[in-house]
Amino acid sequence: MIEQYLVAALGSSAVTAVLALSVHRVSRAKAMRQPRVEAGVRIDMLSETNAQQSALIDQQNQQTQELEATLAQLRDDLANQVESNEEIRVSLDAAVEVREQLAQHADRIAAEALRLKSLGATFERWHEQMISLMTQNKDMHAKNQELSSIVRHVVIVSLNASIEAARAGQAGRGFAVVASEVRALAARSEELSKSYRDSLDISDLTTTATFQDIQAGGKMITASLASVEALANQFQSKLHQAST
């Protein structure tokens, strides 16, 4: 009996153990299945993240390439700019040199115009010589006037001689011829004196007109030179203003 009981107990224990083992295996299988699912989900998520990061890397690579291209372009531009700046600097240096030369030219023109303005003194000197010439002309006028007065006197004397010759009658005929000849000479002298006076008048006029033309021409030239000097000075000051 006890043996039956023992066998029964052993049997029931074995069944229980088998059942427990089955339950354990089912539970274990269940417990193992859950992490796998979670791991699958994680793998999917990681794969998705990985894909996104790959896309980002691709995008960043593309941006990097673009930036490198831009950088290369900027380098080229910079090189061009440097070259251009050098050209501008050379041009600027040349312009500064030209400006300095122009300023020197303006200086020389102003100085030359100032120097030439003293030509006015030369014209005035010529004009003063006109006064001297006209004084001589006046002297000749006075002498001619005196000559004319003498000639008029000779005419009167010759007339008187003719009258006296006529009174003397036959004896005075020779004297009358002489008196007539003297009167004729006096008339020619008078004519010559008038002609000489006209010549002196013409000389007065032409001398005055000529020397006044010289004097006025000198003032015209002096005024023109003053304009040149003023323009040169203005040009010079503009150049100086531009350089400061």
């Binding site: 013409i202 006029l205 032409t206 005055t208 006044q212 006025a216 030239i221 005024a223």
Partner: protein, 179 residues
């Protein structure tokens, strides 16, 4: 060589200068009458004041004939009794020529003017010797009692053609530059 426009212009410029400078007061009557060819407007007695305006293309000779009679002396020297008449009159002639010069400067940028000089009036009859392109004489009477005559003689060295507008208001400043 001197166009009719230019001759008229010289005439207008002279008239304006004579009326504004030979008449001492703006209220004085200044009658300017043109004289015929060959007339100098006065007898051969007396003296003339000669002035020249020179440019590159012409020279203009202004001759003002005067007799130093009592009415002339009284009129021109009334405000300067202490100075010799001729000095005063030369100054007035200088102003007259200066006014012409000023007007001509509007059309000819390069001009110069001489100082005045006195010659015998007989010389005026020889102005043709200078071969002028324009020669015009005028009798000038101021207040009916002062008698002057003026001759404008222009010798041209290139064609001259310009139209002077003398209607602008006269500027009274800058007279001293003529001296």
């Amino acid at each position: 060589m001197i166009s009719s426009h230019a001759k008229d212009s010289f005439e207008r410029i002279f008239r304006k200068a004579a009326q504004s400078r030979l008449a001492l007061d703006s209220g004085d009557a200044c009658d300017i009458t043109p004289l015929g060819q060959g007339e100098t407007g006065a007898s051969l007695a007396g003296d003339v004041v000669v002035l020249t305006i020179s440019s590159i293309v012409f020279r203009l000779i202004l001759v003002i004939h005067f007799d130093e009679d009592a009415s002339t002396r009284d009129y021109f020297a009334r405000n300067a009794a202490e100075r010799p008449f001729q000095e005063v009159f030369l100054e007035i002639c200088n102003l007259c020529c200066g006014a012409m010069n000023q007007e001509l400067l509007r059309y000819f940028p390069d001009l110069g003017m001489s100082t005045p000089y006195v010659l015998h009036a007989r010389c005026v009859s020889h102005l043709e010797e200078l071969k002028p392109g324009y020669l015009s004489s005028h009798a000038i009477t101021i207040n009916g009692s002062v008698h002057l005559a003026a001759t404008v003689c222009v010798c041209a060295y290139a064609p001259i053609d310009f139209i002077a507008d003398v209607s602008t208001v006269e500027e009274t400043s800058g007279e001293l530059e003529f001296f």
